[in-house]
């Protein structure tokens, strides 16, 4: 029986292949090999930890053979120089577009928020729209923060704390906590009747509201009703002034929408209870509407695991590299939800070309296609005449380096076999013969 490789030697053996000159493999592949080899060994020995392993159960010969095969497979799958990677990726994303369905009947059970998916969403991503039609944030909570809060006040549960954080996010206006807002025509004032239950629900006190109103609209004063603390009257602090009815009407409309708490553009949040790997309950908040930059400043939110589908907000808050990942992730999500299989590399290329310049560029006339260096390429896409005339005024020169330009003038394109610039000499026979003679000599 051949000698088996020791567990501690495995890593060293494998690592040789990461930087080896003629047998270099990506680190991810090497790591996967190590994992899989050890897993097999664990299964054979029936232990659950690598430390307890006696052997890798692989002979040197077997190991070499595996590496050989892995390397051959890796080498085989390498992309050839000259591959039209762009077109292949574009087709791989575009072609499933025709197969997408609006499988609306798929949602059963308690219906969640409606998030745009499928083709409309894919077009939205590629268009780099300023605002997605259904912006959504998936907000992870800072577990340490919750622990801390619970420790501070043991009467509160973790859910209470999660609720409190949710309240900080959800936009609350006076309208959403008031039973009624009326114009008191006798006293020329506005009377707001508040809903105590709702207020408690949203974590707001009457003082908060009064302060907010006075802060937002200077010249106003809020008085709590003598008989009921659910009722407040809004009057002008300048007592001499007696407002007209129209003024009051206008004021009422303004008051309704004064925000007391939460993020603008986030009208609704939902708390979801989940369990993590250890089986402990964790809370996650999903929101309708997105305000990423502001959200990350809210205490209790874990910025590292929080996500928004608003790509431009990602770019603004986290930078272009994050936006690139967001584009890829969003596109991938669309495909997955439709159970269409598309290699992630295609999505990655689209994300990369969209973010190449450092800002998000649309796929289309106002983005990448509009900034093509070639006049003919731009003219062949959209707004033909404008591009031709502008090029004439600017005295532009089209160097015919792209694909479509060469198709237009009828020349070989620089893809695939067309990338080769070398041409065989017409007198090659002469030289070949000379060479042969030399060799013979």
């Amino acid at each position: 029986m051949a000698k088996e490789i020791k567990v501690k030697d495995l890593k060293a053996q494998l690592n040789r292949y990461i930087h080896s000159e003629n047998r270099a493999l990506p680190i991810t592949v090497v790591e996967e090999m190590q994992e899989k080899i050890l897993k097999r060994a664990r299964e054979i020995e029936g232990v659950d930890s690598d430390d307890k392993l006696k052997s890798t159960h692989l002979t040197q010969e077997q190991f070499e053979k595996i590496v050989e095969e892995v390397f051959r497979s890796f080498k085989f799958a390498q992309m050839d120089a000259g591959t039209a990677a762009g077109v292949v990726s574009a087709q791989s994303i575009g072609e499933p577009g025709t197969q997408m369905t609006l499988r609306t009947f798929h949602f059963s059970g308690v219906r969640e928020m409606n998030v745009t998916l499928g083709l409309p969403r894919l077009i939205e991503i590629i268009d780099a729209r300023r605002k997605p039609s259904t912006p959504t944030m998936t907000i992870a909570l800072d577990e340490d923060y919750i622990d801390m809060k619970v420790a501070e006040d043991p009467t509160r549960t973790r859910e209470d704390v999660a609720n409190e954080i949710a309240q900080r996010i959800e936009l609350t206006t006076i309208y959403s906590v008031a039973k009624s807002i009326d114009i008191d025509q006798v006293n020329l004032q506005i009377t707001i009747v508040l809903d105590k239950v709702l207020m408690e629900d949203k974590g707001i006190s009457i003082e908060d509201i009064k302060k907010k109103i006075e802060y937002r609209r200077s010249g106003l004063k809020c008085i709590t009703d003598k008989d009921s603390d659910e009722r407040i009257h809004v009057i002008y602090s300048d007592e001499k002034k007696s407002p007209t009815l129209q003024e009051l009407q206008k004021l009422k409309d303004k008051l309704i929408n004064i925000s007391i708490k939460g993020l603008k553009d986030v009208p609704r949040v939902m708390i979801k209870k989940k369990t993590n790997e250890d089986g402990d309950p964790i809370y996650e908040i999903t929101s309708e509407g997105s305000r990423f930059t502001e959200l990350l400043r809210i205490p209790g939110v874990d910025p590292k695991r929080t996500y928004t589908n608003h790509i431009h907000e990602v770019a603004e808050t986290l930078g272009i590299e994050a936006a690139r990942n967001a584009i890829k992730r969003e596109a991938q999500n669309v495909m997955e939800k439709q159970s269409l299989e598309v290699d992630e590399r295609h999505m990655l290329l689209v994300a990369d070309i969209m973010t190449q310049s450092g800002e998000i560029q649309q796929i289309g006339r106002h983005g990448i296609s509009g900034r093509n260096a070639s006049v003919l390429a731009r003219a062949a896409f959209e707004v033909t005449v404008k591009h031709l005339l502008d090029a004439a005024a600017k005295g532009e020169r089209d160097n015919l380096v792209g694909i479509i330009e060469n198709v237009i003038v009828g020349q070989e394109i620089s893809l695939g076999t067309g990338v080769v610039d070398l041409t065989i000499s017409l007198d090659y026979r002469k030289y070949a013969q000379k060479d042969l003679l030399k060799k013979a000599a």
Binding site: A77, Q91, G94, D343, F381, A392, A393, R397
Partner: protein, 911 residues
């Protein structure tokens, strides 16, 4: 032989009046085109010097016939300058930033010098003017000039502030453009009167003329190739007749091109303008004519300018002038330059032929006789070529043309073919018919991915349709309900070689979309494979040999079964195994596996699986399990087919597919397979239970409605009460359909054709089946139950506000039992939405793909593994971060370590 000439670049620029005159071969004066005899009138629009389009005639300029004569431009002297409508916006922008007197851009001289140098250097480096910078400059200059006209408060009181031009001190006025082409200047006189002066095209031209080169550069005009004043026309080039050919109708009436019509208008007005000016007509009349001339010139360039009525043909159709010729889908660019019509192509209806290889295409004899392949006569093939030539154009295969040097001989006019044969010399090229084995490209539109055009080997066949193997339907997305496909014959050796090595169907089995086989078995082949590989399938020697010969296998394996009399028999699995490559080892679960569904028993019984849901292949031998869609279906990764492809290559995969298709055809023909209405018939007991399920569901719905009315329904947070009810009703009703379907499934077992097809993935699914046999279920429009129609009700058959299942589109019936009129109507509502949705989606996704391809077409992987665009900018340092070609990957993985380990370790055991 010399190397082909290459165009290195194309320069765009403006033509100066002098250049236009210089390149002109004829000044055009006469508005008429032809005289009574139909001869072109000299100095008219059809002057012979502009080239000829009539066969037999010679061009007066180059003396060539119409083929080689490229056509020559003439010119037209405009009596007054005319604004080129395409540059109108640019002109307006310029007038807004330059001095009305000295024409300098409203920036400090030092700044101008500095910026001009920057721009020039930028252009040298990148080849174009920096458009961002240009916009900035323009905006700054405009702000400067505006502040001279309307100084801000702070400056108005400043006594030292000069309101004049930075360069000459002239007071500036506001320039206004009145659409489409009139310019005005507005200012207040010292007396406080508001004055509006017209700036004529002549004045505009003069202003533009005075712009110095540096200033022009800041305005985005490179004076090496264009001067701003050239945007105003003094001379109009008249395009050659080849650009605007006239057609003679059968009646002998000549019909001129739209452009000619427009040019006639221009010449006419130009002539009248000239006459009126000569005779000293009043200024008003002259100006009217000038405006008219401007109108005609504008519509000559672009007949869709907003603000002016388009010029029309006598019939009322708007003329198609220069801009219209270029733009849009039917314009020159997209339909003639980006895509071109080709020779050596054919198109006809496609039909199936399971006996062809996936690499082949059946070409009708008639088409093969017309499409040709050029073949050069050499010393080595001259005998063969002679044989071909003597066959003539009617041969099988024959020859249609031969080329001797520059001369082309059409053999169909040659009486004595033997003369041609005897004179055949090396170096001649013959165009011979398509014959078996030639490489052609086959295509079906829409060409959504690269597998929409693949290379096939020709198989010449009788009848009139293209024939193809059924396994290649998927990549083309073809069916045989009347689909047509195109065929192209590559004409050069390079093209053939490339098609052969890269585009052949077998090279495209793995799709780059996800790195799995897109080509594979479909429909009846899957059914056939199910029957063939079932445990109890076994055949006698005669049938076994029939199956094997069908698959081109001529060795008989040892029998593995025998009947009760001890006569040897061959199992279906064994026969199937004959096509699997030796050395193939693979284990997988197929679609019949129930382990994942039955929660209680999670351990897989593997080869003893009662449903034969576990496929084991050892050394190319199918040990257990049924081959279904997950085994060798199209678009299923990690199947047996996929493993064959990865481990044994494309050639072995092709052989497997070709062989199995033929064997399965014989098997399914022999066994027989059909589905009829009785396959969706449920016995009375089942029907009663289904009715019960529906009744219960409806009662539940009614309960919900009553609860709501009684105020007992609890609102789900975030939804209104009505929405809550609606959601709950929908849940109930969708489970009604599912339950009804399950009841019917109980009665339809695995001996039912429809169930078999659904379970093994050949066609349809259990949902389709339950709709046919049990209950069609809830119809929906936009995800909700059907709700619109009459006020508060869908149809007058119901009460207002009725929320019950029936009133909102629940179909109780099954397709088998038949729908009631109301149900039929509701079903049509849902069906219509589906149709509309499909129509909208195709156009949207088509446009999306066009944009994607357009944005990414220039990207390619280079020798250093970077992905770059055409200008060499790096988009990715390594494609997909690992330089793996998804088409060559294993379902996205560069390396499938599990498979490799299995393979290596099993090898060891075998030893």
């Amino acid at each position: 032989m010399s190397l082909p000439k290459a165009i290195a670049g194309i320069r765009f620029g403006l033509l100066s009046p002098d250049e236009i005159r210089k390149m002109s071969v004829q000044r055009i004066i006469n508005p008429d085109t032809h005289d009574e005899e139909g001869m072109p009138i000299p100095q008219g629009l059809m002057d012979n010097a502009l080239g000829t389009i009539e066969p037999g005639k010679r061009c007066a300029t180059c003396r060539n016939k119409f083929g080689p004569c490229p056509g020559h431009f003439g010119h037209l002297e405009l009596q007054r300058p005319i604004i080129h409508i395409g540059f109108n916006k640019t002109i307006y922008k310029i007038l807004q930033v330059i001095c009305r007197s000295c024409s300098r851009i409203m920036l400090k001289p030092k700044q101008i010098r500095h910026l001009a140098r920057e721009l020039r250097e930028g252009k040298e480096a990148t080849g174009t003017l920096d458009s961002v910078k240009l916009e900035e400059i323009l905006a700054r200059a405009k702000k400067n000039r505006d502040s001279l006209i309307n100084p801000p408060k702070s400056k108005r009181d400043d006594e030292n502030f000069s309101f004049g031009c930075y360069h000459c001190g002239e007071i500036q006025h506001k320039v206004r453009l009145e659409k489409p082409t009139s310019y005005y200047e507005e200012y207040e006189t010292s007396a406080g009167n508001k004055v509006t002066d017209k700036i004529s095209a002549l004045d505009v031209q003069n202003r533009l003329k005075n712009i110095p080169d540096d200033d022009a550069l800041l305005l985005g005009i490179d004076t090496n190739h264009a001067r701003p004043e050239w945007m105003i026309l003094d001379v109009l080039p008249v395009p050659p007749v080849a650009v605007r050919p006239s057609i003679t109708l059968d009646s002998g009436i000549r019909s001129e091109d739209d452009l000619t019509h427009k040019l006639v208008d221009i010449i006419r007005i130009n002539q009248r303008l000239f006459e009126n000016r000569e005779s000293g007509a009043p200024q008003l009349i002259v100006e009217d004519l000038w405006d008219l001339l401007q109108y005609h010139c504008t519509t000559y360039f672009d007949n869709e300018v907003s603000g002016i009525p388009p010029a029309r043909h006598r019939s009322g159709r708007a003329l198609r002038t220069l801009t219209q010729r270029l733009k849009g889908k039917e314009g020159r660019f997209r339909s003639n330059l980006s895509g071109k019509r080709v020779d050596f192509s054919a198109r006809t209806v496609v039909s199936p032929d399971p006996l062809l290889s996936i690499n082949q295409v059946g070409v009708p004899k008639k088409i093969a006789e017309i499409l040709t392949v050029p073949e050069r006569v050499t010393e080595w093939n001259i005998e063969e070529m002679r044989e071909l030539v003597i066959q003539g154009p009617k041969g099988d295969p024959g020859v249609n043309y031969i080329f001797k040097g520059d001369r082309r001989v059409a053999l169909r006019f040659v009486r004595d073919l033997s003369f041609i044969r005897d004179n055949l010399k090396p170096g001649d090229i013959i165009e011979r018919h398509l014959r078996d084995g030639d490489i052609v490209l086959f295509n079906r539109q829409p060409s959504l991915h690269r597998m929409s055009i693949m290379a096939h080997e020709v198989k010449v066949m009788p009848y009139k349709t293209f024939r193809l193997n059924l396994s290649v339907c998927r990549p083309y997305n073809a069916d045989f309900d009347g689909d047509e496909m195109n065929l192209h014959v590559p004409q050069s050796e390079e093209a053939r070689a490339e098609a052969h090595t890269l585009m052949k169907v077998q090279e495209q089995i793995s799709t780059p979309r996800y790195g799995g086989p897109i080509i594979g078995a479909i429909q009846d082949f899957i059914t056939a494979a199910y029957f063939l590989t079932k445990k109890d399938t076994q055949v006698y020697r005669d049938v076994a040999s029939e199956y094997l010969t069908a698959a081109d296998i001529y060795e008989m394996p040892d029998p593995d079964r025998e009947d009760e009399n001890g006569v040897p028999m061959w199992s279906g699995k064994l026969l199937f195994s004959m096509l699997l490559p030796k050395g193939l080892n693979y284990e997988m679960k197929n679609k019949l596996c129930t382990c994942s569904r039955d929660r209680e028993d999670r351990t897989c019984p593997k080869e003893t699986c009662p449903t034969e849901g576990y496929v084991i292949i050892r050394n190319g031998r199918l040990i257990s399990g049924i081959i279904d869609k997950s085994g060798f279906g199209a678009e299923v990764p990690n199947s047996v087919l996929h493993r064959i492809l990865k481990e044994f290559g494309t050639d072995a995969t092709r052989r497997f597919l070709d062989g199995i298709t033929r064997m399965l055809v014989v098997h399914i023909t022999r066994r027989g397979f059909s589905m009829g209405i009785d396959d969706v018939d449920v016995p009375l007991e089942g029907r009663e239970r289904i009715a019960e399920v529906i009744r219960e569901g409806k009662a539940e719905v009614e309960q919900l409605i009553n609860d709501m009315k009684a105020g007992k329904l609890e609102r789900i947070p975030g939804l209104t009460l009505n929405e809550t009810l609606e959601g709950k009703i929908q849940d109930v009703l969708s489970s009604v359909r599912n339950n009804a379907g399950e009841v019917s499934a109980e009665f339809l077992g695995m001996d039912n054709s429809a169930v078999i097809m659904a379970k093994i993935g050949a066609r349809g699914n259990m949902l389709n089946l339950s709709q046919m046999s049990a209950c069609v279920g809830q119809q929906s429009v936009r995800g909700d139950r059907i709700s619109r129609g009459y006020r508060e009700r869908t149809l007058p058959h119901f009460e207002r506000g009725d929320l019950t299942a029936d009133a909102k589109g629940f179909v109780n019936a099954s397709f088998r039992s038949g729908l009631s009129p109301v149900e039929f109507f509701m079903h049509a509502c849902g069906g219509r939405e589906g149709l509309v949705d499909t129509a909208v989606r195709t156009s949207n996704s088509g446009y999306m793909q066009r944009r994607l391809v357009n944005a990414m077409q220039d990207l390619s992987s280079k020798y250093d593994q970077t992905v770059r665009n055409s200008t060499g900018e790096i988009i990715q340092f390594v494609f997909g971060d690992d330089n793996i070609d998804p088409a060559k990957s294993d379902n996205g993985l560069s390396v499938n370590i599990d498979v490799i380990m299995e393979k290596v370790l099993n090898d060891k055991e075998a030893q």
